[in-house]
Assembly symmetry: C2
Homo-oligomer: 322 residues x 2
Amino acid sequence: MKIAILGAGGLGKAAARIIEQKKEIRIVAACDNSGFAIDEKGIKPENVYNLKKNESVASIGKKSFDAIGEIIKKSRIIDGILITLPNLPNEFIPSVAKRFLQNGYEGAFSDPLKKTQAMKIMFKMHAFFKKKKSAYITGTGATPGLLTAAAVIAAQSFIKINKVDIFWGVGIENWEEYKGTIREDIANLPGYSLKKARAMSNEQIEKLLDRTNGILRFRDMEHADDILLKKIGIVDKLSQVSVGGVMDTRHAKKPVTTTMRLTGRTFDGKISSHKFMLGDETTMASNVLGPALGYLKRAIWLKKNGIYGVFGSTEFMPMFVK
Amino acid sequence: MKIAILGAGGLGKAAARIIEQKKEIRIVAACDNSGFAIDEKGIKPENVYNLKKNESVASIGKKSFDAIGEIIKKSRIIDGILITLPNLPNEFIPSVAKRFLQNGYEGAFSDPLKKTQAMKIMFKMHAFFKKKKSAYITGTGATPGLLTAAAVIAAQSFIKINKVDIFWGVGIENWEEYKGTIREDIANLPGYSLKKARAMSNEQIEKLLDRTNGILRFRDMEHADDILLKKIGIVDKLSQVSVGGVMDTRHAKKPVTTTMRLTGRTFDGKISSHKFMLGDETTMASNVLGPALGYLKRAIWLKKNGIYGVFGSTEFMPMFVK
């Protein structure tokens, strides 16, 4: 699989670390907002993940005001595109994907997108992706993604699903490595919005974290698990799905065990819950980018098999990447 | 989905009970070894699950020495076939599926097959199914099936999988309802074989159960979870997958919680385990036939999308059946 990584922040770098240990994947293109690198023979993953905090992909490639445009020019060498761009605003990622197709790319995409609103925009492009013979799988991270797919498996035992509760624990030693995704999470706190979170300086975020001892607690987050499960009929109402979590931004140890719990009624009238629990030692990087690459392999498979469109991570099993 | 149910023992009847509560499915054909029923407008599920212990499908349809042959004659009305026949000997289920295709059926199959040897015979027919434009998903019950699919999801977070441990608890009030599947399980006990288990009279099984107070304990069972996970590269060696369990044949309450535990190494060198646990209140019927129907919907989808062959339940996500 010759892939492009769009976005070289925390998620993009973590993807590069994982890819270094996966024989099946070669990075042939990477970019951020000020630079790009393209090499059909393969960009060394370490060149991506060794980029320093404020260092651009330009330092291993070329500077550009339109790095995505540069990658699009060479997109015929790309089997699949992993999108690890910050999704602020909601239209950004959908517009990038659209631009690839408008400029002749026919291929596959995987995107660990979290926000319901952004995903709705993606799904509206289903017909366009079909026309352009491309396959896009969205919501391919941990939640939605890994845990939502586990909910699809769990749902099999039940006639009627009452609720799906996803509660995650994340521990990160240094929040600044995940600036983009943490801003998206902060947007879920009472009194915050995407716009407000995006406008916050690092210092303001530090201040917020000082007040909470580095701990952020979330309830009823806007996570697209709900529309992904409703799309395939597992729940009837979005309110049956709840996503919450606890993030410790100062310690790698998880404050709680990440758990998906699906509760339903069986044909013989029993109410019961199946659970999927992630090992506490596994990090956000493993649980988000592992699935995102597994789904990218599936998206490439879909494209190869002539199945085109925009799909949720609940619609297909991720494939295992060796 | 207009489906046929082959085999009207405990599993076939449980399927009928589930289907009664699923709007999307209509039973258009059913059979056992001495009779069959066919009705394109739909056979009432209760007519199937109300059959008494020694009553044949003939009593709601017609007697026949070749019930399967009769269904094959009308197979153009069937979208998908659920196979709930006892798999003794290993060649039996594969030979039934083959016969459908040899006689002009083009469609979809789901089969909650458990035995490695039987599944190997199925996979050898991959090219034949491709040629006959049919899709067959095998191992679509609980294990393999529900729990093996959960292992595929769990594997996403890891670079290298060390082991997959499946340990199930089953409680059934009356083992005679599941004569076929329990004989298959007994074959796994030390000193037994499929042939020997099959030859046992009900009285001999009662005697065996009396000695163990109705409890059967299994370790390192021949379950096809191993070849299904190896087929897609999640494990390199079959020995990395172990299946065991405890069955209480006298109480509905499960003696242990059914758990799939996948242990692996992450890209950052951590050893950890993800777990998938089934609610204790859910029965074997829910956990085997629910997935089997979800996979049948997927098999019909595969056929519709021109993807033919024999596949494992680890290769595709089951679909949710409303």
